[in-house]
Symmetry: C2
Subunit: 264 residues, 2 copies
Amino acid sequence: MTERNLSRRQLVSTVGGVLGGGIAGVLLASDDKPASPAPPAAAAKPAATTPWAYHALDPEATAEHGFVGYSKGHCMYGSFEAVVGSLGEKYGEPYKSFPVMMMKYGAGGVNGWGTLCGALNGGAAAIQLLSPDPNPLIDELFVWYDAEALPDYVSKAAKYPNVPSVSGSPLCHVSISNWCAKTGKKSFSPERNERCALITASVARHVALLLNKQSEGTKVVSTLPAEASGCMSCHEKGGALENARTKMTCPQCHFHLGTEHPRT
Amino acid sequence: MTERNLSRRQLVSTVGGVLGGGIAGVLLASDDKPASPAPPAAAAKPAATTPWAYHALDPEATAEHGFVGYSKGHCMYGSFEAVVGSLGEKYGEPYKSFPVMMMKYGAGGVNGWGTLCGALNGGAAAIQLLSPDPNPLIDELFVWYDAEALPDYVSKAAKYPNVPSVSGSPLCHVSISNWCAKTGKKSFSPERNERCALITASVARHVALLLNKQSEGTKVVSTLPAEASGCMSCHEKGGALENARTKMTCPQCHFHLGTEHPRT
């Protein structure tokens, strides 16, 4: 994970390239302070037009912003607001007027349904809002979340020992159950609540790293989990059955295929 | 599903109650036309403050808006923009300035990952943005999507015969695979693409129905799928194991539990 070692002084943000219709500006960001005011091209565009200009963020500060934000509006709000709220604090509009509290719905995989991890939902939303080429970043965010031992960011304000676990899935339900199996803690315990705040922080940090990387001009390429490739060869696009659509790792849910499934 | 039979003339919208700090106005909406201009209370609030005022929408027109929108930005964009875009067309700001294209990320359960159905992701986002009490509406939207044979809206512009299927899950991957099993069609076929456009339309329609219902003052109460209650009694909050968090129907994914799981 080379981007983790990226110096804050190395962060280069190319802004206005897409929003400004070719009027590109290259800024060298130093620590948390913007190198120059927001370019007029970004301010002149209506807020309804996407993507909005991205300005390099400090990943560590974004992570802590996400950790604090979790306590206000849970995981999806936390990761989204860490990015968009940080831009609003520094650059004002249009970021400042975004109704960030609408992202509360993603909590616990949408209102406790355990579907998509809210931190990922908010992270993907922020990427789509701010990136001229969001798809590779979203894929990389999900691949990273699937495979890494997380949380990989620990706030100084954390109360409990951090025990990272591999989710193996972008789903809240799977991510939490795998953490429970690793730690022996319960899914509605205060430790799990803090773990999800730190997951939110970790995702916010990674979103900032990916957006920084892309705005530097570095291509982000990710490889989907190999674990699912056997299943996909029959079930996904172009396969003999072609009766599924997913990039998830199949055995995380289908851990028993039963006797009627052909041996693989 | 009594709300399906709701007359468009019966739609009553209570607006401004939350946003207007107690200055509530009650409007009787007739067909597609607003009964009166947007109340000043809604316009005076900053766009960052949620919820935004909701005005009753015609469910059928909202559905068709979603069907057309799907071809512009896929499922999540389609359901969200059907609601928020329709409000923007009729009432202008703040709806009109929402960067709706950011919702493209939810396509195919987020960039083809097959997690949360994008139509539900967009529908839940619209509910959270527009409702003073979103949680019961989001739960009911998910319960309905889980259990109903969908699509239940068919556009006159549809090219293929509509074959409804029960998803049994809010997940894109499961919803599509169950439709493939029902129809014998492939997951990347043009028929599946149109089916997802009609799912988007059906969800947009249901979101409008639920928001209309709540704004009339009718309480929305939903019952979670009974199929999962046995599993939940051990695995969910308060259970002996408490090692999961979900409202999904367990056997949709865990259809083989293997020999090591206690008999239920």
